[in-house]
């Protein structure tokens, strides 16, 4: 049962060839959602861990904002909201990795990727649909409960306007898109690198630090702050948080996120084409 | 099979005095008396509800295996084969009954027993993936505390008979499935186990590798007297290796005896595939019947207990024969036949 679900990869394509591509990708997204929904115990365990980390971080942030109220333009309850949003979005945005990229790298390493590239469905779109399904599950399954616990234990800034919440959801969706496009690039790098583990670890490092998981990006000092706030990782957690907290203009934020998404997706296209040529030249 | 039960009193009496080593008069090496294994299985029935159900994976099994026997242990998937092996090796604790291997209660003295048994899990290699084969053997040497001279002797022997000489310095990940299986078997034998458990030792191997593995096991059994218990899906493994076969299904021992007996019990048939020069009407011979015709090729079923030789001779004499082959019934077919016959008998008895 479990292995069957795990194999829900490009192999399932053969059967779906006749279905319209929109419906196909919808089905793939549902598959991605379900695949993660199977692991109930793991989800509960993750919720617990996110909650514990939330409590620890929230306590240190409380002390930090006690020292310096309005640090980075946040007041204390803004900062605490930021902590709990970070825990809620951590797995949705795959900040610590372990999304589809491990599987894709494995397929590249074993050469199975050649089969995927000759299939009628587009590689980038296929994994995008799958990953968005996963993101949706983790947003609901792993995000809501820690955030609710945080709101119960601490004094959080929760906007009253439904429009703000709606804008927040849009920012989360765009963040998930940026997260995917970047990880797709990383995975494709395995075509040219002998060992995918190294680059995955490097991007994991960069992701944890530059996404604002350890410290909100607006607290970073000087030029370092300017730089990290312009990088794509700022679109993952900082951007949705700023939209929810009313700290940034939603339209500008969307433009920033969408800009990175388009750029990274285009780069992914380019790399995918290069990879396809390489596979064709080498004969798979 | 009749003797040991009468002696169970004496045996348990002896055990209570000396659990560490004991022998029955028939030199039974493996002894099971009414061994059971019951699992609690939780089945999800709704979103948060689940149902608990008892599953008897092994249901009151009794048998004896003498030292030096080579026994096939077969049955469909989920029949209880691997559960039995896990109890014999001490991995699982039986829920009931009495079990002894070399006089030792496996579940209570697992590590002590480990030095005296060898286990090969067909699809799970215990060799070190990224290291040369020889490194895995060196680890066995130290972990089992095998005396140097004996280790060298056993290694040389395995290397020679399993043709591993060229593979010793090759990382395990570069070995083929057949090479790896040979490597695994050698690893399980370096410490001179008195019994070797093999779980699907020929699964996925090519014909030559299968033959090599079988030949090695036969030698091991005859020359060193190692007791061998193997589970398999390949009826040829059993035919070529085992004088005795046990069939388990739904946790119960359905049959225990020689393979020929199993054929009789199951009354199974082998198939002779005949390629003729041209299309002909179905072949007519007394000891076989045609079950399928496809152009010049014909399939004839004949009783598995009979030799194919007279049949082949007769067809060759009377028909323009180009090629032929004999196909064995697989284990599933034998067992299915066995059930069908039993059901028929039961039906007859009822009426």
């Amino acid at each position: 049962m479990r292995t069957k679900l795990l194999r829900f990869g490009p192999d399932a394509l053969g059967k779906a060839g006749v279905v319209g591509s929109g419906r196909l990708y919808a089905a793939v997204a549902v598959g991605g959602f379900r695949r993660y929904a199977t692991y109930r115990t793991a989800t509960l365990a993750g919720v617990f861990t996110n909650t514990v980390f939330g409590v620890i971080l929230a306590s240190t942030y409380t002390a930090l904002w006690d020292e310096r109220p309005h640090l980075g333009g946040y007041d204390q309850s803004d900062a605490l909201t930021y902590v709990w949003l970070g825990q809620a979005l951590l797995t949705t945005m795959c900040v610590m990795g372990t999304g589809f990229e491990d599987e894709l790298i494995e397929r590249i390493r074993t050469g199975d990727i050649a089969i995927d590239l000759y299939r009628p469905a587009d590689l980038q779109m296929w994994w995008l649909a799958q990953d968005l399904g996963r993101a949706l599950f983790q947003f609901v399954g792993r995000g809501l409960i820690p955030f609710a616990v945080g709101a119960w234990l601490f004094d959080l800034t929760l906007p009253a306007s439904p429009l703000t919440w709606l804008a927040f959801l849009v920012a989360v969706a765009l963040g998930a898109l940026v997260s995917y496009s970047f990880r797709f690039l990383v995975a494709l790098a395995a075509f040219w690198l002998m060992d995918g583990a190294g680059i995955v670890q490097m991007t994991w490092l960069a992701g944890v630090f530059c996404s604002g998981m350890v410290l909100p990006l607006n607290v970073f000092p000087g030029v370092l702050g300017e730089v990290v706030r312009a990088l794509p990782w700022a679109a993952l957690i900082q951007a949705p948080a700023d939209v929810l907290l009313g700290a940034a203009d939603p339209v500008g934020t969307f433009a920033f996120q969408a800009g990175w998404a388009v750029a990274l997706l285009a780069a992914g296209r380019f790399l995918q084409a290069a990879a396809t040529r390489r596979v064709v030249v080498q004969g798979g | 099979m009749d003797g040991p039960f009468n002696e169970s009193f004496n045996e348990s009496f002896a055990d209570s005095f000396n659990g560490s080593s004991h022998d029955s008069s028939h030199d039974s090496f493996i002894e099971l008396d009414g061994v059971e294994k019951v699992f609690d299985v939780r089945k999800r029935t709704g979103f948060m509800r689940s149902e608990r159900r008892e599953v008897r994976a092994v249901d009151s099994i009794s048998f004896r295996v003498a030292r030096g026997e080579m026994v096939g242990y077969i049955g469909p998937n989920g029949a209880g084969k691997s559960t039995t092996i896990k109890m014999l090796t001490g991995i699982l604790t039986p829920s009931g009954g009495r079990l002894r291997v070399a006089g030792i209660d496996p579940s209570r003295e697992r590590t002590r027993l480990a030095r005296r048994i060898g286990v090969v899990f067909g699809q799970r290699t215990t060799l070190w993936w990224d290291l040369p084969l020889i490194d895995s053997y060196r680890l066995m040497h130290r972990m089992y505390r095998i005396p140097d001279a004996r280790y060298r002797e056993n290694l040389d022997r395995c290397v020679e008979l399993l043709e591993l000489a060229d593979l010793l310095d090759v990382p395990v990940r570069q070995l083929s499935l057949g090479q790896r299986m040979r490597g695994d078997i050698a690893a399980a034998l370096l410490h001179d186990p008195e019994v070797l458990y093999l779980d699907e030792p020929t699964i996925g191997l090519d014909v030559i590798s299968k033959a090599r593995v079988r030949e090695f096991l036969r030698d091991l059994n005859t020359e060193r007297g190692t007791t061998v218990l193997l589970t398999t899906h390949d009826l040829q493994d059993i035919e070529q290796l085992c004088s005795r076969v046990m069939v388990i299904d739904h946790g119960r021992l359905m049959y225990d005896g020689p393979l020929t007996g199993l054929h009789e019990v199951g009354d199974s048939e082998r198939t002779l595939v005949v390629d003729l020069e041209r299309e002909l009407p179905p072949i007519e011979v007394p000891s076989a019947r045609v079950v399928r015709v496809e152009g010049p090729r014909q399939w004839l079923a004949f009783p598995a207990s009979e030799s194919a030789a007279p049949l082949v001779a007769r067809i060759a004499a009377e028909y323009p024969l180009v090629d032929l082959s004999v196909r064995d019934p697989d284990i599933e077919a034998v067992i299915a036949k066995m059930y069908a016959d039993q059901a028929e008998k039961a039906g007859r008895a009822a009426s």
Binding site: L57, S59, R68, P221 | H22, I91, R124, L131
Partner: protein, 305 residues
Amino acid sequence: MGVSGAVGTGVRTGSRAHDDRDGWGAWDDGPLGRWERVLDGVRAYRMIAGMWIRSTMAYRVSFVMTTIGNLTATGLDFLAIVLMFSRIDRLGGYSLPEIAFLYGLSAISFGTADLVVGSMDRLGRRVRDGTLDTLLVRPAPVLAQVAADRFALRRLGRITQGLAVLGYALLTLDDVHWTILKVLLVPVTVISGGAIFCAVFVGGAAFQFVARDASEVQNAFTYGGATLLQYPPGLFARDLVRGVTFVLPLAFVNWLPALYVLGRPYPLDLPEWVAFLPPLVAAGCCALAGLAWRAGLRSYRSTGS
């Protein structure tokens, strides 16, 4: 009876009968047997860890990269605290060197446990894919075999970084009146703390026998605990501090002895001598973790996969 067993194995093994009695006698339960078992576990651990080191060296470039990665990852962790202090002078009343002292002790203890038994969080996976069974048919304690699984020298990165931060703290702490007792307390704390974290890892693995997919729960106590201990106890809710003092005694890893060294008040009005309890607490934790492990393994062997 002993002779008949040896005779039964045939001429070939007859000569082994003598070693057998000696070798196996050691496995009989009893105080001596238990001690032998511990030694045997350590021996098996060394052998398996050695094999893993050799395996990693088959991919040298990868090893170098992941080691650097590990060092950088833990380095960034402390960098975040340094960044905080670029905006503030004190956090919860503690200076940067004082926090570095807490951080260094926590990182070294946790890093040691992570190096020694860190792979135990993979136990659930081993149970799921059935590879645990291959360890159960070996003549070595399963705990040692599981603990040595995937032994990785790259985990020295965290210990190295912890030592560097502790070194920085010791050089920059200026208000501490060092006594011999305080100097001795530092290494004792590190070792006991490592043992307490080891116990947490083993306990977490034991829990995975029951809940196979729950490996992430243990991250809350290992990684979460290590993060918690980097900051002064005053930052956290009283109930949380109570919990990590009396229920899961992480407070003894570094908080209490470090507060004694720094001359800071204890949380929860604890008496001063609790700073010297870590070795005792560590022994207790290890004993409990051992019992939990045995119970977990027993439950696995009766329920199977």
